[in-house]
């Protein structure tokens, strides 16, 4: 029974040198301690790790001594019987003990198989010292990320589009192509957020007008009347020659099939939540800036003046006027003073004087009507129901407070000449004389000066003034007096005397309801501004033929171009794109504007012009004033208290 310890050394050339050393004794000890038979210099091995013995010379018993076992076939054991003929490999720390049998001798082969330390292991210098050893490779990351991006943001959206082709309305929920949303939709279209295909119907086909008019079946079906009626060649000639940038854009558009002139060219979407932005002025100015010259040279002469920016380049206003009495209304020619013959005689200067008869009379009615110390514009001019325009003046409502047509009181009832019916006036006066001669002279003067405080509408006050010096004693005289100079009708109206079988006639009064037909002016939006701030010529106007519509100059006191351009000094600028006044679709209505911009315009007026001369003057608008039911106690500030 003998154990042989075999050692194998490897030379540099790879040759193995085997040395066998017989071990004394039947029991071999193995450990780190040098006193052991087999000394294993391995810190992972105990000083006295194991004993190896064999009873029969065949079976080898290995017994661990100090708690630490050994590995046999991958399992940790503390004692093991090994058939030396079959052989076995045992592991002690970093060493391997191979048991084999040769010629009745048990061979023990001890080799170090583990490195002395982890640091001693071979390393790939390039990998170990760089981050390659601790991170995923850059290539893996690159391809993974790229694939994820394509999957989530290209294939997913296209799949979403593909799976709802031809479907009228997508169901709610997540659709991958919402990742393509380039910006929030306007509030009107917000519900289409998940349904890209409602507008983007076909792939690589720009949004067509069809997609718009599928829903917008009514007013927006076509271009504006003015523009739709024009020949295409003319519209094309109107466009300004493209600049470098527009050539680039046109190149893009042509190369990628994006036709021009679609609804969405002006009605741009994905520009942010909230109301859709108003169409910017550039879209109008693109054609209307320098358009007349272009159209003329293209053989389409036009009357339209050029317009590019309200603040700097806008033609003079051309309100509707009647150039002669009874003429048809035409747009005023630029450069000439405006004369509008509406058939009335009305000196504004006289009525707006701060002193004098009219002011005194108005002051005497304070408390009965909403008059101040003098007459104000709004005492006679009333806005219509929505506040946009001023109603035509009506005699009974707006003049009769002072200009009474009463001529007699019978038993507490006042009799009044019928306004607007000259034949009736003649008849009434004739009838009056036929019954009984008047006990007192008639009051037939329209503008007779009355004693303040004693005369009011609906009261007959028989006094003799210049106008009634020729006291009529017969019906014909009375009729003539009322229709002649100094008479109630004549003072305000143009009268045609009886001729060729006609009776007395009054020239028809034509009050133009809307002077500026191409643009939109909203009095309500300007209610913070005094009338006289814009209607500057009112206080000097001596004749009603002076058209008091403000000129462009007055607008520019506050309104500047969309980008703030101006040629006059403006204290509080209101930036005004074309769409503030002009309605592209020309339906005659109010130009559409986003709510936030409407609000902005009002709140931006912070420096109001001085209103020192107007104590209280608010346009009351809605309040109807009865002619005959006023009382002495009507407070003069009623309108103001109602909130205007």
């Amino acid at each position: 029974m003998s154990f042989i310890l075999r050692r194998i050394a490897t030379t540099k050339t790879g040759k193995q040198i085997i040395r066998d050393q017989p071990l004394p004794g039947d029991t071999i000890t193995l450990g780190r301690d040098s006193a052991n038979t087999i000394h294993v210099a391995d810190l992972a091995v105990n000083p006295h790790h194991a004993t190896i013995g064999s009873g029969d010379g065949r079976t080898v018993r290995v017994t661990a001594q100090e708690g630490l076992g050994f590995d046999l076939n991958g399992r940790t054991e503390t004692v093991a019987d090994i058939d030396s003929a079959a052989g076995a490999e045992l592991r002690f720390g970093g060493h391997r003990l191979t048991i084999a049998r040769e010629d009745d001798k048990i061979i023990l082969l001890v080799e170090r198989i583990d490195e002395l330390s982890q640091a001693s292991k071979d390393v790939d210098e390039v990998k170990a010292f760089s981050l390659q050893s601790v991170l995923f490779g850059k290539r893996v990351g690159a391809w993974t990320f790229a694939a994820l991006m394509l999957l989530a943001f290209l294939i997913g959206p296209i799949w979403a589009w593909h799976s709802y082709r031809g479907v009228d309305e997508r169901p709610n929920g997540f659709h991958a192509d919402s990742a393509w949303l380039s910006g929030p939709l306007s509030s009107a279209h917000a519900n289409l957020k998940n349904d890209c295909q409602s507008c983007h119907v076909d792939a690589f086909v720009a949004v067509t007008d069809n997609a718009c008019v599928n829903c917008h079946t009514g007013e927006h079906k076509a271009m504006s009347m003015a523009h739709a009626g024009a020949p295409t060649a003319m519209l094309l000639a109107a466009r300004h020659p493209p600049g470098l940038g527009e050539k680039v854009l046109a190149g893009f558009a042509e190369a990628f099939n994006k036709p021009a002139g679609r609804c969405v060219d002006c009605h741009t979407e994905h520009e942010g939540a909230g109301p859709m932005a108003a169409t910017p002025q550039k879209f109008c100015a693109d054609c209307h800036d320098g358009m007349a010259g272009r159209l003329k040279s293209a053989g389409h002469p036009t009357m339209l003046a050029d317009a590019a920016d309200f603040g700097t380049s806008h033609p003079e206003l051309r309100p509707l006027v009647r150039p002669a009495a009874g003429a048809k209304p035409v747009r005023a020619m630029p450069g000439k003073p405006w004369r509008d013959y509406n058939g009335l005689k009305f000196p504004h200067d006289l009525h707006l004087q701060a002193t004098g008869g009219v002011a005194r009379m108005a002051a005497s009615f304070r408390g009965r009507y909403d008059f101040g110390k003098k007459l104000e514009c709004e005492n006679c001019h009333r806005p219509d129901a929505d506040g946009v325009r001023i109603k035509p003046v009506e005699m009974e409502r707006d003049c009769a407070m002072c200009h009474s047509l009463a001529f007699e009181t019978v038993g507490g009832v006042t009799r009044t000449l019928r306004h607007g019916e000259p034949d009736q006036v003649v008849a009434d006066l004739t009838a009056y004389y036929r019954s009984t001669p008047p006990a007192r002279p008639l009051q037939l003067g329209g503008m007779a000066r009355r004693r303040p405080g004693q005369y009011a509408e609906g009261q007959v006050y028989n006094i003799y003034f210049r106008e009634v010096a020729a006291r009529p004693s017969r019906a014909a005289d009375a009729v003539r007096a009322v229709f002649s100079e100094g008479g109630a009708c004549y003072d305000c109206h143009t009268i045609f005397p009886p001729a060729a079988g006609n009776n007395w006639r009054v020239m028809a009064v034509n009050q133009t309801p809307r002077f500026l037909t191409k643009g939109w002016f909203d009095h309500d939006a300007h209610r913070e501004t005094a009338c006289a701030d814009c209607h500057v010529t009112a206080t000097e106007s001596k004749a009603s033929t002076d058209l008091l519509v403000p000129a462009l100059r007055q607008c520019r006191d506050c309104h500047v171009g969309e980008g703030g351009a101006r040629i006059v000094k403006v204290e509080t600028a209101t930036e005004s794109p074309c769409a503030m006044c002009h309605e592209y679709h020309s339906d005659g209505g109010k130009p559409w504007q986003p709510k936030r911009e409407r609000k902005r315009q009002l709140s931006s007026i912070t420096h109001q012009p001085s209103r020192a001369i107007y104590d209280v003057s608010l346009i009351t608008g809605k309040r109807e004033r009865g002619l005959y039911d006023v009382s002495w106690r009507t407070p003069s500030l009623q309108g103001a208290r109602q909130g205007g």
Binding site: S117, L131, T144, L154, S182, A203, T268, P280
Partner: protein, 293 residues
């Protein structure tokens, strides 16, 4: 005539000499030529953006936006080509230094081109995703430029004229000495030494690499365990403790080296994968624009 050329050549060699003496890196290449070019490019974009009045407002879909977008996309592809160029050895085309210089400065100008292309309309969509990825790539690149300019000095100082493998070899030497010196120690004292030997000097994740902190360092643990131990013969233990201390110093040097290298390299692990993510997102962005035209 000949003298003009000679003088010019002389001047050229003179410039070359100055360049070599000062070590002109990619940042100051050719007197900051590409810095000037891309600075001018950015300035042109900002000024023209302010001057050019596009309708209805600036965004990627205006003609100006298309122009900037096209320039930006082509620039991104060209910048990515540096990865190809640096693997290709050439002598006749641009030097890699020139290419890198242009890469850095034109890449920085992309901040302006890309951002002004958006018209400052950002949102949660693929378009802004592409922009954000582009910004991340540029910022990581900016980090790379900064660390390339500052950290090599620290790397060199830490290395102390040793090569990487010499650093590792030092640790191996201490390991061998430790192994033999620890033989007389008691099993209780051997265990921490063994743990120290078993410790991979390259172990630790990305966090440890970047921070340079190894709180569970077995060598440090072994040092404190043996310093407090009374189990073995004092002389043997003293010797082991001394060796452990030296090993710890060697480890610290190696770890500082690894940390600086990690800081020098980490940006590429953002820069390169995100570049590919960017190109993918950019493709999706461009295709989506024309898909939903």
């Amino acid at each position: 005539m000949a003298s003009i050329f000679r003088r010019r050549r002389n001047r050229a060699t003179q410039t070359e000499r100055v360049r070599e003496r000062q070590h002109e890196g990619f940042l100051r290449y050719a007197g900051f030529r590409w810095a000037k070019i891309s600075g001018a490019l950015g300035l042109i974009v900002i000024v023209s953006y302010a001057l050019i009045d596009v309708t209805p407002r600036h965004n990627g879909g205006s003609w100006y936006g298309y122009t900037l977008g096209t320039i930006g996309a082509l620039l991104i592809l060209w910048l990515t080509a540096l990865g190809y160029r640096k693997r290709k050895m050439t002598s006749d085309y641009w030097s890699l230094k020139a290419w890198t210089s242009a890469h850095v400065y034109l890449g920085l100008s992309l901040i302006v081109i890309g951002t002004w292309h958006t018209g400052f309309q950002l949102g949660w969509n693929v378009h802004t995703l592409a922009w954000a990825l582009m910004m991340l790539v540029i910022l990581s690149g900016l980090y790379g430029v900064v660390v390339y300019a500052t950290l090599p000095q620290a790397l060199s100082n830490n290395r102390d004229q040793m090569t990487q493998m010499q650093m590792l070899e030092a640790i191996r030497a201490f390991d061998r000495q430790l192994h033999s010196a620890a033989q007389p120690l008691s099993p209780a004292d051997t265990a921490p030494v063994l743990a120290s030997l078993d410790e991979n000097p390259f172990a630790g994740g990305i966090g440890a690499r970047l921070s340079g902190r190894y709180p569970r360092c077995a060598t440090a643990a072994a040092l404190s365990a043996l310093a407090a131990s009374h189990g073995s013969a004092p002389e043997a233990r003293e010797k082991v403790v001394g060796l452990l201390r030296q090993k710890q110093a060697a480890l610290a040097r190696l770890r500082a080296h690894l940390r600086i290298r990690a800081l020098l390299e980490i940006w590429l692990y953002v820069h390169v994968p995100l570049t590919f993510a960017l190109i993918a997102a950019l493709s999706a962005h461009i295709i989506s624009v024309f898909f939903y035209w």
